[in-house]
Amino acid sequence: MAIRELKVCLLGDTGVGKSSIVCRFVQDHFDHNISPTIGASFLTKTVPFGHELHKFLIWDTAGQERFHSLAPMYYRGSAAAVIVYDITKLDSFQTLKKWVKELKEHGPEDIVVAIAGNKNDLGDIREVPMKEAKEFAESIAAIFIETSARNAVNVEELFQKISKQIPPLQNPEVESNESFKLTQQPPPSTRRCC
């Protein structure tokens, strides 16, 4: 079975639940008091998809604005970016729009963008209507899903949707729009197991 490594980065305002989503996805665990991410953290998870195994190499970034300048290090070479907002915080939806823009400007050209409206369990204090978010996502041709890391809602589905969007065994071009002269990440590669 072929293993495909897919680099995914999570972007979004601080406190929206990026780390929580990753934690739910990788360890199926939720921690109310998860530490804020400093810089970034790196986790992997392999899931079967069709005839392939998709190994997600997840870079979970820090949300506070002053860490934005580090983001390129993480989204460079990513096959997909998950931009997370908190449905109970309108601000976080605004930040999301900024991220979409930045990805468009500096991100890899063929990057799969997924928009995740997290904390779906807190529907009664919702500030971002689902319809609005969905329409926005459609407008940029992004995946849209509302999730709840706490209740394990739609987290696996989110990554399944990403898997679906990954073109099967193509040879993507190396992106060139780099703002930081850091060592290059290899493009998503495939390798054979055993």
């Binding site: 490594e5 601080t14 406190g15 990788v26 360890q27 921690d31 109310h32 008091n33 998860i34 530490s35 804020p36 991410t37 400093i38 810089g39 970034a40 953290s41 790196f42 986790l43 992997t44 998870k45 392999t46 190994k55 190499l57 870079w59 820090a62 949300g63 506070q64 604005e65 002053r66 860490f67 300048s69 580090l70 290090m73 993480y74 823009k101 468009k104 400007e105 407008s139 940029i140 041709a141 073109p167 703002s179 930081f180 002269k181 850091l182 060592t183 290059q184 990440q185 290899p186």
Partner: protein, 995 residues
């Protein structure tokens, strides 16, 4: 128990102890208070504390010995060996008891039974098991019960009866009473001493000469508390057995609930043919008493009752006082004749018994003989007296008969009837005359007696009058005296009221004095008790200390064992891992290996370890509240993670405190040579800090460093922290929202921060809010919360922690480390890469080969000063040097960390795996000293100048890049407005195409 003389004792062996144990306790000898009445469960205190050799015995000791069924098993399964031979040769055992050291035994009163009355018991201390056995008498073989002293405490009540004291065992409290206070004290001290010796014996094992060495020890100790009371002569010890025998028959002293023991003891006494006189006498009386004593009394063995029928009482001959009562006169004679015969038999019996007993008790028999002779003498004297009385009576009778004879002779001498008649008549007249005279005299005397009585009563009345008058006189005189006294005082003190009150005062004064006396007595008693309790406390603490030392040594042993087990396991897992990597294995072997690995991973490390050891629960969190074992979540690295965790664990267990001791010595020496707070920078201090500050001094030294670092700011604004706190309350900084959001997400694994309501969190909040105004350009940056939290954990004081944060952010770290874009931080990552290339060329090449960007990992190490990246002990050691020397230390340790694991990293040849490894490997560093030595020796030289130059260079470049980027962005924005719709269109169309 072999060779026990008592058949009943032998019978008890057949009874299994567990059948005896749980039978309900029937409180007979029951001590005072409700607390004593409940029998403690089988699992007694003793079971837990004493060695296993004891446990076979515990089922006895825990259930009360006083229960009636228990009396059938009078001694423990392992009885006193000396006791067995004593019973076999028929000697009274309580006396021939051969124990090492002076024997502690004696009569004590024991309170108990349903009546809660004092009962005299013979108490004997037994060394082996530290038990106090009690018997009804010193001659008894079978104890009524026993007290376990191994874990007993002693005290005596203040207001109790004289000589009473309490022995409190885990099962119950015994109330005992010695004959006087001194004896009580003697007993208490002896018991204390013996308890100590016993515990010594238990714990030490090899106590060659416990009695001598420890007694002296104890004597010394007692000097601090109470002088050793000398053994009261004749009241305790073996001689007490013979000198103070208890009343053998006093029914009150009988053990009601131990009829069997009573019987057994009497039976044994019979067998033993105890040579006491009373006993042989009582046997004699059973045989010879019937004429005088009722059968019920015959069985009675009371010596006082026995004596009464033996000797004829003088009252017997006095009853027939009339001269003609012949049979009565004969009886005493008969008795008198009989008594010697009785005495003879008595004597012969005595001599017989003396003959049999002479070998055994020569002294006693000679004393017996004397007393018996004395008794004989008394008896004989008594006899002589009665004989004399008889003689006197006979004399009287003789006199009367002589008179009669004379009259008869006169009567017979008269001639003829007439004359005889005359004589008779004459006599009769005489008689009548005499009779009438007698009557006259009688009435006269009667009259006189009456008048005498009258006079007497008159005299008495008069006397009474006189008495009354004198009394009155006295009272008057007293009143006069009083009044004159008052007058005198009045003269001296013109206020009259005072004088009356003085009278009252005098009264109250005397009352007070009395009370005072009482109180003084009380004080004396309290003092005495206090002294004793002091010694008791001292002793108990000594015992406690010993036990805890033992416990500690066991813990250490346990830790070592666990450490070695951890090491073994980690080695085993390592082997498994290597096997897993081995490609030459066939599939079956591979399967086995996989299975083994799965099994190994299945046992959850923390829980299994927790169950396995006591010490772990203590070490769950370190002194600063950090979890000692980190959690691993890396999916592919579980095996490796477990190996690492095991290594950490074994390392921690082995070097818990051993490694820090010399360091502690160096530090205490260093700090002692300086007056407090007056540390000054020196190479010596630098080296000490690099080695790490012992926990004991860390707070103090950090405070000093922070103070030195922030001196100027603080001098300019003495009340800064308070003002900032107030300001942050009245006008919150925009960053405060983020601060509140992160507050509960700070050091969540640390127990001081894990509880939402913990005071540490509130302190942290105030510190961060204050800092947002201390440095408004930074305001708040994620990561500062961790810096503040560590400062708070070490410094404790909120304001100190605030200044520590200021010192790190504003003084130690370069400018713009935490401001927008974190340029200085990013620059430092480039500086690090330069150093890596220089100091670790192999690793740099390896990283380049696998396109690893270490800054993705190391960026946050620098930003948060390794908080949550290193095990807590190492983290604080890094900070010790970091606070003093600055950021150079972060570089040194970062390089050292890579160096430490260089070989391991070089073995990994996959980009993802390397990242995964780098993400957590810092937490697996076990040998802190090795890391420190790499950081400060291997990485030398590390001149600060080069660091500064490189920083400046990279910062400049970065800022240039940033400017470029900003320009690009501006361009993009202006352009994007135009392209926006088009862009979306293309994106959409592309998507559609793909789908």
């Amino acid at each position: 128990m072999e060779g026990t003389g008592s058949p009943i004792a032998a019978l008890s062996q057949s009874l299994p102890p567990q059948e005896v144990g749980p039978t309900p306790v029937n409180e007979e000898e029951g001590g005072g208070g409700g607390a004593d009445q409940s029998p403690t469960p089988l699992a007694s205190f003793e079971d837990e504390t004493t060695s296993s050799s004891f446990s076979s015995f515990s089922s006895f000791s825990s259930s009360d010995v006083d229960q009636p069924l228990q009396t059938e098993s009078p001694s423990p399964p392992e009885p006193q060996p000396d006791r067995t031979d004593s019973t076999s040769d028929g000697e009274p055992c309580a006396r021939s008891w051969a124990a090492p050291g002076p024997k502690l035994c004696g009569y004590l009163d024991k309170r108990g039974g349903p009546l809660r009355a004092w009962k005299r018991r013979w108490f004997v201390y037994e060394e082996k098991k530290s038990q106090l056995f009690y018997y009804r008498t010193s001659q008894d073989v079978t104890p009524l019960g026993r007290l376990n002293l191994g874990s007993a405490t002693f005290t005596f009540p203040l207001k109790g009866e004289e000589g009473s004291f309490h022995i409190q065992t885990p099962e119950r409290t015994y109330i005992l009473k010695a004959i006087n206070q001194e004896t009580m004290m003697y007993w208490l001290q002896q018991l204390q001493m013996r308890r100590w010796q016993y515990r010594e014996l238990l714990s030490g094992g090899a106590v060659s000469q416990p009695a001598s060495s420890d007694t002296t020890n104890n004597n010394n100790n007692f000097k601090d508390f109470l002088p050793m009371v000398k053994s009261p002569q004749g009241l305790v010890g073996e001689e007490a057995a013979s000198q103070a025998p208890p009343p053998r028959t006093g029914l009150a002293n009988m053990s009601i609930k131990h009829p069997l023991i009573e019987f057994q003891n009497s039976f044994h006494n019979l067998l033993a043919k105890h040579s006491s006189q009373e006993f042989s006498q009582s046997v004699f009386h059973v045989e010879s008493a019937p004429p005088w004593t009722p059968p019920s009394q015959a069985a009675d063995m009371s010596p006082t009752l026995q004596t009464s029928p033996i000797f004829p009482t003088p009252s017997t001959p006095s009853t027939p006082s009339l001269p003609l009562a012949e049979p009565a006169g004969q009886r005493p004679l008969e008795d008198g004749r009989k008594s010697p015969a009785v005495l003879n038999t008595l004597n012969s019996r005595r001599s017989k018994s003396r003959g049999t007993m002479s070998n055994i008790r020569r002294e006693t028999s000679s004393a017996d003989r004397i007393s018996r002779l004395q008794q004989e003498k008394d008896m004989l004297g008594e006899e002589v007296k009665s004989q004399k009385e008889l003689v006197w009576l006979l004399h009287k009778a003789l006199e009367a008969s002589q008179l009669e004879k004379r009259t008869c002779a006169e009567f017979l001498a008269a001639e003829g009837e007439q004359q005889r008649l005359e004589v008779l008549r004459h006599r009769e007249r005489q008689a009548a005359d005499l009779r009438s005279r007698l009557d006259d005299l009688k009435t006269q005397t009667e009259g006189l007696r009456r008048s005498l009585a009258e006079r007497d009563s008159q005299v008495a009345d008069l006397q009474e009058n006189v008495d009354m008058l004198t009394e009155k006189n006295h009272a008057k005189q007293e009143v006069i005296l009083k009044i004159s006294d008052q007058l005198a005082t009045c003269m001296a003190n013109p206020q009259r009221k005072v004088s009356t009150s003085i009278g009252l005062q005098a009264q109250t004064c005397s009352l007070l004095q009395e009370e005072n006396e009482n109180l003084k007595d009380d004080i004396a008693a309290y003092k005495m008790q206090n002294k004793f309790l002091n010694s008791e406390i001292y002793q108990l603490t000594k015992l406690w200390r010993k036990s805890s030392e033992q416990e500690k040594s066991l813990m250490v042993k346990c830790a070592y064992l666990e450490a070695s087990s951890c090491q073994k396991e980690s080695r085993y897992l390592g082997v498994l891992q290597r096997l897993q990597e081995n490609k030459t294995l066939d599939p079956a072997q591979r399967g086995v290996v996989r299975k083994l690995i799965e099994d190994a991973l299945q046992g959850d490390l923390t829980t299994s370890v927790k169950q396995a050891s006591l010490s772990y629960t203590l070490l769950d969190h370190d002194d600063y509240g950090f979890k000692i074992l980190p959690d691993y979540e890396a999916e592919d690295m579980k095996l490796l993670a477990k190996i690492q965790a095991l290594e950490i664990r074994s390392h921690n267990l082995l070097y818990q405190d051993a490694g820090d001791r010399p360091l502690l010595g160096r530090w205490s020496q260093y700090l002692a040579s300086r007056s407090d707070g007056e540390l000054c920078p020196s190479p010596e201090l630098k080296n000490l800090l690099r080695a790490g500050i012992p926990r004991e001094y860390r707070q103090q030294v950090w405070r000093w460093i922070v103070r030195a670092r922030t001196l100027t700011i603080r001098e300019q604004h003495p009340n800064r922290y308070k003002q900032l706190c107030d300001k942050s309350l009245t006008s919150p900084h925009p960053a405060s929202r983020q601060i509140l959001l992160d507050l509960h997400r700070t050091l969540t694994t640390n127990k001081h921060f894990s509880a939402p309501s913990s005071p540490a969190l509130q302190k942290l909040q105030r510190i961060l809010l204050a800092f947002s105004w201390q440095n408004p350009t930074i305001g708040y940056c994620q990561g500062l919360n961790r810096l503040a939290a560590v400062s708070l954990l070490v410094l404790q004081d909120e304001e100190d922690a605030f200044w520590c944060l200021v010192a790190v952010v504003e003084v130690i770290m370069p400018l713009d480390y935490y401001t927008k874009n974190l340029v200085a931080s990013q620059a430092d990552q480039r500086v690090l890469k330069d150093f890596m290339a220089e100091k670790l060329p192999r690793l740099t090449a390896h990283f380049e080969e696998h396109t690893i960007d270490v800054s993705l990992i190391t960026f946050n190490w620098f930003l948060v000063g390794f908080v949550e990246n290193l095990p807590s002990d190492l983290l604080l050691r890094v900070w010790d040097a970091f606070l003093y020397e600055g950021t150079k230390v972060l570089f040194r340790y970062t390089l050292a960390l890579f160096k430490y694991k260089e070989e391991d990293i070089l073995k990994i040849h996959d980009n993802v795996e390397i990242y995964q490894y780098l993400r957590f490997f810092t937490k697996t560093v076990t040998d802190g000293r090795k890391l420190t030595s790499i950081a400060f020796t291997m990485m030398n030289p590390f001149p600060g100048k080069i660091l500064r130059n490189r920083r400046a260079l990279h910062l400049e470049r970065l800022q240039g890049e940033l400017r470029e980027l900003e320009e690009q962005q501006k361009e993009f924005i202006s352009g994007s407005v135009v392209r926006k719709d088009k862009d979306l269109d293309t994106l959409l169309s592309e998507d559609e195409e793909e789908l």
